[in-house]
């Protein structure tokens, strides 16, 4: 499942990179910064990125997943830091059943 989630995040990253001046460094793999001190997305970019990932993950796993809940936004180590941390976070949401079927 983790690999599939990663593929989806990379797919969104590729799409975003077509528009971005400072691109998400996909070649860094799991460590590629997304948002935060070293990230390349601004806050509006992050919103679009989250929506796109939510939709792809939702379609792929037939779940409704809300990535930007209070928990995620208040975590000291934001799950939106890198591609790897985001993939871990989504996997955890799906395994915990936090993502609802539907």
């Amino acid at each position: 499942m983790k690999q599939k989630i990663l593929d989806l995040i990379l797919q969104v990253s590729d799409e975003f990179n077509e528009q971005l001046e400072n691109k998400i460094a996909i070649e860094k793999g799991l460590d590629a910064p997304v948002y935060g001190r070293e990230g390349v997305l601004d806050s509006l970019g992050l919103v679009s990125f989250i929506i796109a990932v939510e939709q792809l993950v939702g379609d792929e796993f037939q779940v409704t997943v809300t990535l930007a809940d209070e928990k995620a936004l208040s975590q000291q180590n934001s799950p939106f830091r890198t591609i790897g941390s985001l993939a871990d976070y989504i996997e955890q949401l799906i395994e915990d059943g936090t993502a609802k079927s539907g």
């Binding site: 509006l44 679009s48 929506i51 939510e54 939709q55 939702g58 409704t64 609802k100 539907g102």
Partner: protein
Amino acid sequence: MDKSITLITGTRKGIGKFLVEHYVKQGHIVVGCSRSAIDWSMDGYDHHIVDVADEAAVIKLFAAIKSKYGFVTNLINNAGIASMNHVVLTPFSTAQKILNTNVLGTFLFCREGAKLMQRNHFGRIINFSTIAVPLHLEGESIYAASKAAVASLTQILAQELSGFGITVNAIGPTPLQTDLIRAVPVDKIQKLLARQAISRFGEFRDVSNVIDFFLRPESDFVTGQLIYLGGIS
């Protein structure tokens, strides 16, 4: 995007039903919802049974729109409930219902609508406030408070969503002759109409006229605005 997909909430009767007919006539594909089933149907209209304050049901509705049409152009948050009563006589459960439908329902549809609209970098959201807010109408404390919240939502979402090509505006109707004011005494209504610059009941066409303006592609420089009918400001 050759055809407008227009989502309207609260379409079982009254202004919601009128707006369905109005936008179907203009060639839009109209999707609507209400808490209970409707006893009418129309070509070009797709009805769903959804309580606007039920998050899971709202998400499901948007998933259905996404898979059938791929996007949504216009969202008209018409669903609303009112209860005219003195604060001392207003049950807590009534206050909760009003806030759930009017505020949280509008919030949920704006949130899910914005997610779909940003894919096309275009969208128009219309919310419903009321003249009861600026007029501080007695007997409408929780209703007016809920609609003041809708006005705030509108103004702030206009800021947050402008980067996605989405405009968010609101209309503040005067009393219309709908179920919403059925229980209000005639003398109260007459007094209220007398406070308007133009002292008559609002008509459905007065509402659709303002919405038509907000929806126009040329209105892409108009957002965060609240237009009151009847000369209230």
